[in-house]
Symmetry: none
C-alpha cells in the first residue's frame, strides 16, 4: 500500500450530525423524512448516496468509537478509552502511558451516599483549582473543569492502567462504590488504589471549601466530591496527515469531539458560540469551517444537538434542529469549492432514546462522484443509492481518493 497524491487536489468538508439516523415513528416517518430539508435533498440529488454501518452491522456505536471509525481508524485497534478524548478536548497535555478519566462533581452525604450525581449540574473553576496538582503515591494528578458539572482528570506516573472500573453508579441514593481493578495486575491494583485515594481526598478538600459553604447557604447542592469514569490510556497514533496526506481541521463545540480530533492531529478551529448545546451558533460554525478551508484540505464539522433531542425522545425537536442545520449550515457549506459529505456518527432513534445499530445515511457531493437516482436525504431513500452499504472506516479512504490523496495497493 502506498500513499499518493494527484496534481489536481481538492478540499473536503465532512459534516457529522450526532445521532442523526433514526427509525420511522411519528406519521410512519423518521425525523429526517419529516423535516423540510431543501439543501440536503439537493445534495442527495446531485451526489452519491448510501448507508453506513459506522462500526459494523448490528453493533451499537458509542460516540467516541464512532468518530475514530469515521476518520478511518479501526476502533477495535485504536480506541484508547473515553477519558483520553475528554482530557485532550479540555486542552490537557498527554504523554504515552498517562491515564485519563472523565470526571464530574457530585453531591454526597456524610456516609458517602450519592445525593446528586451531577451536583445540580454546577461545577466550579475554583473548586477544580483546589484539586489540581495533587500528588499521591508518586503520581501527579491534574484536574480541569470543562462544562457544567464536568471535568477531565489526568494521572502521570509509573505503572498506571486503564483497566479499572467506573465510580459513577449512574444512580442517586447508592453508597459510593470503590474503583476496582478489572484485570489481575499490579498496575491495575495500584491505579484503582490511587483513584480511591484521590476521590477520598477530593471529599476532604471540597466538603470544607468556602465555595461549598456558600452553596449550602444558598440551598444549592454542594459539589463536594469528584467521581471518575471512562479510564483511558494515551498512546500516540499516526495522524490523519500521516495516514492520508491531508491537513485536517475541526469545528466542534463539545469536548469529546475536539478530543478525538486532537488525538488524530487535527487543528482545532474556534467558532464563536459553538457550544454543543441547543443555543449553539450554527452560522458561526459554517463561517469557521469556510475560513478553515483556506488553510486545510479537510474540515470536520460536528453538530451535537440532533443527538441531544433524540436522547430526550423529542421528535419535533430533532426535526427542527435538522431543518436548522439544513438552512444555516448546509446551505452555507455547499457554497464552498470542496467535496461535501454529510452523515451521522450513529443512529439515536427518538423512539428508543438511546443509540442503535441502524446504519446512518450518507451523501457525498462533488466533482466526478457517480450521481445516482436518489433525490432525498433520508434513511430509506439513500438505501438504493450508488454507495450501497459501507462501513465507517471506508469513508475516509473514499473521501481522500476524491480529494486526490489516494492509497494504492499494487501497480
Amino acid at each position: 500500500m502506498s500513499l499518493n497524491s494527484s496534481s489536481d487536489k481538492r478540499h473536503a468538508i465532512l459534516l457529522v450530525c450526532d445521532g442523526l439516523g433514526d427509525r420511522p415513528s411519528v406519521g410512519g416517518k423518521t425525523p429526517l423524512q419529516a423535516a423540510h430539508t431543501p439543501h440536503l435533498d439537493a445534495l442527495s440529488d446531485a451526489g452519491i448516496n448510501g448507508l453506513m454501518d459506522v462500526i459494523a452491522p448490528g453493533i451499537v456505536p458509542g460516540s467516541d468509537t464512532a468518530h475514530l471509525a469515521l476518520f478511518g481508524y479501526d476502533p477495535y485497534r485504536h480506541y484508547p478509552g473515553r477519558g483520553v478524548f475528554e482530557a485532550l478536548g479540555a486542552d490537557m497535555e498527554l504523554c504515552a502511558g498517562d491515564v485519563a478519566f472523565r470526571a464530574n462533581f457530585a453531591t454526597v452525604d456524610e456516609q458517602l451516599r450519592v445525593i446528586d450525581r451531577r451536583a445540580g449540574r454546577m461545577g466550579s473553576k475554583e473548586l477544580a483549582r483546589a484539586l489540581n496538582g495533587l500528588e499521591l503515591q508518586g503520581v501527579s494528578i491534574s484536574l480541569v473543569h470543562t462544562t457544567q458539572h464536568r471535568c477531565a482528570v489526568v494521572m502521570k506516573g509509573e505503572q498506571l492502567s486503564k483497566y479499572v472500573s467506573d465510580m459513577d453508579t449512574h444512580r442517586a441514593g447508592d453508597v459510593l462504590q470503590d474503583c476496582k481493578p478489572l484485570r489481575a495486575g499490579e498496575a491495575e491494583r495500584r491505579t484503582a488504589a490511587i483513584v480511591n485515594a484521590f476521590v477520598k481526598r477530593s471529599y476532604e478538600i471540597l466538603n470544607e471549601h468556602p465555595v461549598n459553604a456558600d452553596r449550602k447557604r444558598r440551598g444549592e447542592p454542594p459539589a463536594n466530591i469528584i467521581l471518575l469514569r471512562g479510564a483511558g490510556s494515551y498512546e500516540p497514533v499516526p495522524s490523519l496527515k500521516a495516514r492520508f496526506g491531508v491537513s485536517a481541521a475541526c469545528v466542534a463545540g463539545a469536548s469529546l469531539y475536539k478530543g478525538v480530533a486532537k488525538y488524530l492531529g487535527m487543528k482545532l478551529i474556534h467558532a464563536e458560540g459553538a457550544t454543543g448545546r441547543a443555543d449553539t451558533n450554527l452560522q458561526s460554525k459554517a463561517e469557521a469551517a469556510l475560513r478553515a478551508l483556506k488553510e486545510h484540505d479537510f474540515v470536520f464539522v460536528h453538530v451535537k444537538e440532533t443527538d441531544n433531542d433524540a436522547h430526550d425522545g423529542d421528535f419535533e425537536g430533532k426535526k427542527r434542529i435538522i431543518e436548522q442545520i439544513d438552512q444555516e449550515l448546509v446551505a452555507r457549506l455547499q457554497e464552498a469549492d470542496a467535496y461535501l459529505a454529510v452523515t451521522g456518527d450513529h443512529s439515536t432513534p427518538v423512539s428508543l432514546k438511546r443509540h442503535s445499530s441502524d446504519p446512518v445515511p450518507l451523501v457525498i457531493r462533488g466533482e466526478g462522484v457517480r450521481r445516482d437516482r436518489v433525490k432525498n436525504f433520508d434513511e430509506i431513500s439513500v438505501a438504493s443509492g450508488g454507495l450501497g452499504r459501507i462501513r465507517g472506516v471506508d469513508l475516509m479512504p473514499i473521501l481522500a481518493d476524491y480529494m486526490g490523496y489516494y492509497i494504492m495497493y499494487g501497480t
Copy 2:
C-alpha cells in the same frame, strides 16, 4: 464491547427455508418469483428487505456452517465439524475432546466392495444396538440410529482428533477405502486406526446378524457395514444467551439443525409430524413456534423441504413448497406479537442441483424497522431494499438490537 438490554424488550421469530435462494430458470423467473406468496409479499411490503451473503460473497455455504453464521457465530472460528451437530441432533451427550461422526449403514460384498452406499436407505434400531457401546483401544464408541440409513457415532477417550478422512466413497462399486490421518500427529494416526477397526468390527457383527439374514431372505440389501464421515471435535461455545442475552428455542425436523441449535444452547421444541421431509407438518411447526414464544425470546423455525426439491432439480416442487410455507407457516407466524425474519441458509438453484453462493433474500418485519419500497419477497426485488447487502453473521446482532438486547462498543 458490552451487552446491554433496554427495559422494553421484544420477541423474534427467524424462519429459515433451507436452500431458498435460486437463479432465474423456468420463464426467466426464480421459484420464489414464480410462486404465489401473498403473505411473504405482505411481509416485504411492511418490512425492511435485503440480500445476505450467509458466509461471504462467492463462498458456497454448507448447511452447517450457514446456520452457525445465521446465529452470529463466525463459521471459520466456531465450526466443530459436521459429526458434532449430527450427534447432538441425535440427542447424544458430548464432552470436550469427544470426536463425533455422521455414519450410515451400507451394503458391501465379501471383498468389501460397496454395493449400496445406503443399504437400500433402510437402517435398523436393532442393528444399531448391536454396535452401540463397543470399546476399542480404550475408546468407548456410541452409535445411535437417526433416520433411514443414517446414524451418528461418538468416540470418547484420550487423544482423539477430527483430522481423519471420510470413509464414504460416494460411489458404489469401489472397494472400501481405509480412513486416513489428515495431519501428521499421533492423535490422527490413532483415531484413523480406531475408525478402521470399528468399521471392520461392524462388518463382522452386522453381516452375521439375524436382521440381515431376514433382509437377504426378502431380497433386500443387508445393512452389513457402517461407514463414517464428517469427523467433528466437540468444544463448548458461548451460548446465544451468553452472547446476546436472549433465551432461544428451535423448531426443526432434521437432526443437523437440531444439533446446531443444541450446540448454541437453544431449547429443542417438539412439533408433531415435523420430519424434515416432504410429508412434514408445517401447521404443527407454526403452532409449536407460537407456543415456544411464550417461554423464549427468540424462536428459530427451520424448513428443509425447499432444499430437497432444489437438489432434485424440481422447479415446480420448490415453487409448490414455497407456496405451502406462505399459506401454512408465514400466514400463522405473522400473527405473533414478535419480529418476524424470513430467509434461507443458502441458495440451491434448481438449475444446478447444488448449493451456490448467490446471496439469499431476507425480510424483517416488526416495530420500528425502516420500511422500504420493496413490495415482493424475491431475490431480485429485495436487492433495492433498506438492508442493502449484509452477511450472515450480521443478522443476529441486528435482530438482537431490534429486540432490545444490544451490543455496544464505546460510550
